[in-house]
């Protein structure tokens, strides 16, 4: 059984960087207790799931609260919108988790940390509220998963 895994899902589209920002902050804090992975596509999480007891996914979200609000859900959760994928570029997080569950790949504990975003334009930095929230989320994850 390997170390707990923390995955940051993000892109270069404004507040969609949130997952990456949390991961960057964990790295700045010198967090070495878990394996950290940065992905652009939720489907890539499947590559790293095997043989884990704990998986933490950091991502941006929309529609869960005011911009910059932090949410923590345990999988399975109905808070993730299930939608029909049109390809694999856009296979959503809920579909990836469903596929992993169907194949028995899911770790026993899966936690999703999400930061509510507001702007999603290409090449923009994340907004101030989101950046601040990502720092807070990283600290909370650090406190919870130190020595995981």
């Amino acid at each position: 059984m390997t170390r707990a895994l923390i995955v940051g899902v993000g892109s270069h589209y404004g507040d969609d960087r949130a997952g990456w920002l949390i991961l960057d902050r964990l790295q700045e804090l010198g967090f070495h207790d878990c394996e950290l992975r940065r992905v652009s596509n939720p489907a890539d999480i499947l590559d790293f799931m095997e043989q884990r007891q704990r998986l933490v996914i950091c991502d941006a979200c929309q529609g869960a609260g005011p911009p910059g609000s932090i949410h923590c859900w345990s999988w399975p959760t109905d808070r993730l919108l299930a939608r029909q994928a049109h390809g694999t570029h856009d296979m959503g997080l809920s579909e990836v988790m469903e596929l992993a569950t169907g194949l028995g790949m899911n770790p026993s504990s899966v936690e999703i940390w999400a930061v509510e975003g507001q702007t999603w334009f290409p090449s923009l930095n994340a907004g101030a509220e989101v950046r601040a929230a990502c720092e807070k989320a990283a600290t909370a994850i650090w406190e919870k998963y130190a020595d995981a």
């Binding site: 499947l46 590559d47 694999t88 596929l99 194949l103």
Partner: protein, 434 residues
């Protein structure tokens, strides 16, 4: 009085990018089929103009998240031809290895998650996984191997960053590649098992008089080099691409459609074309496997493309293992060059088929003009032809409109189209207002 009705597939699912199909039926006969690509043009060629030629492999890689290596390979080969750069045998082998990684990732994904569900009436890979958990898990493992290889050699799995004009920015250490060997040994056996699995699928009947087109090389299965050949006897150097193929604009698509230059007929690129035209270049293992699973010497059923894709998976696992085992870094990682004005083209084999690039550069090493013709652009016209034939037959068989719409999607997916890649052109009309 004639009556017309229209069957719409508004959004094709399990293909990359956004497109749909419109079928116009008049008096129970297919009048017109349009593969509508409405995804906005990406304008990558214009974006390259004025940029340093060294930026080209990294910018063109952004055209596709599934086949970035193909764009990098076609671009560096064209630019190296323009600059007269000769690379070393080691760089050539590492480029083939990088392409192996991309084919493994792309083919494993398409076979298991995108295409296989169609043969069992499953709506998605998730649904298919409930019925074939071991096979889908195996497919995900194969995809992962492709990604790991791209990370080790390309710096990262999506949009690799190690490809340079003249070679690589850095040669991997021997242990970085050698560490992949056990996984690839397992993967070779798994790919063979996957081929046997897909060959057992129930395949719809459809045989078409295609003109298959691919690269062909006398000594190896085609990746980066070779002449352009076709099943109708064409054999020309890549530099003559424009004499034999041309792109045309159609109103219903933001992507140009490629056709044969004189005849204006469609042609077919991709794994089925490659396997048909290069069977002799397949390894002994793959040739035996092709015979064992009953792959015809010239297969003309597009639904059986999934077998061709699986056979290629075995082929690239074998080649990757061979390169991984023999790798000892030596010599330069890339060849030096001086910028000079020039023009050159190149074609390589992307997972989905022939990918043609053509560049003009100025004496300061800036891109003056770029032209990129992806495989999906080349297959579009053929896809429309296939749909017309297949749907005409099923319409006579009194299939329901819903069934016909599903048939459309299934047939389009056999080509593994990457619509996002294909939208590389926008015709702009300027209106002068006095």
């Amino acid at each position: 009085m004639s009556t017309t009705d229209v069957i719409e597939v508004p959004i094709l699912t399990r293909v990359e990018g956004e497109g749909g199909v419109t079928i116009r039926v008049r008096q129970n006969t297919i009048e017109n089929v349009q593969l509508r690509i409405y995804e906005p043009p990406r304008l990558f060629e214009a974006l390259l103009c004025g940029r340093a030629l060294e930026d080209t492999p990294d910018i063109t890689a952004r055209i596709c998240g599934i086949c970035p290596v193909a764009y990098q390979m076609s671009s560096v080969h064209a630019l190296e031809a323009a600059l007269g750069i000769q690379t070393t045998p080691q760089i050539r082998r590492l480029r083939r290895l990088l392409y192996c990684g991309e084919w493994i990732e792309s083919h494993a994904l398409h076979i298991h998650l995108l295409h296989a569900p169609d043969f069992f009436g499953a709506a998605s890979g998730i649904e298919l996984a409930q019925r074939f958990p071991q096979e889908i898990t195996r497919g995900l493992q194969l995809k992962k191997h492709g990604n790991r290889l791209l990370e080790a050699l390309g710096g990262r799995a999506i949009h690799p960053i190690n490809v340079a004009v003249g070679g690589f920015y850095r040669l991997p250490r021997r242990e970085e590649l050698a560490g992949l060997i056990p996984d690839f040994e397992w993967g070779l056996e798994a790919a063979i098992a996957a081929t046997r699995w897909v060959a057992s699928f129930p395949f719809p009947e459809l045989t078409q008089p295609y003109e298959f087109v691919s690269l062909s090389h006398p000594d190896e299965y085609p990746f980066n080099e070779g002449e352009i050949v076709s099943s109708q006897g064409l054999r020309v150097p890549v530099t003559e691409f424009d004499r034999h193929f041309v792109e045309v604009h159609v109103a219903h698509s933001t992507a140009l459609q490629a056709v044969r230059h004189e005849q204006r007929t469609p042609y077919f690129v991709g794994p089925l074309a490659r396997i048909n035209l290069n069977r002799g270049q397949l390894s002994q293992t793959v040739q035996r496997l092709a015979d064992e699973v009953g792959m015809e010497s010239e297969c003309r059923n597009p639904f059986r493309s999934i077998i061709a894709r699986a056979l290629e998976l075995v082929q690239v696992y074998e080649e990757a293992l061979d390169i991984l085992r023999g790798y000892h870094p030596s010599g330069p990682s890339r060849m030096p060059y001086q910028p000079a004005a020039g023009q050159a083209c190149a074609a390589t084999e992307a997972p989905r088929g022939l990918l043609f690039h053509d560049y003009q550069i100025d004496d300061a090493g800036k891109i003056r003009q770029a032209r990129i013709i992806p495989p999906t652009s080349q297959n579009q016209r053929q896809i429309e032809g296939d749909l017309t034939t297949y749907l005409s037959r099923n319409l006579q068989a009194k299939a329901s409109r819903e069934e016909l719409a599903s048939d459309c999607e299934r047939l389009v997916r056999t080509y593994d189209p990457c619509i996002s890649c294909s939208t590389h052109f926008l015709r702009v009309r300027w209106e002068e207002i006095p």
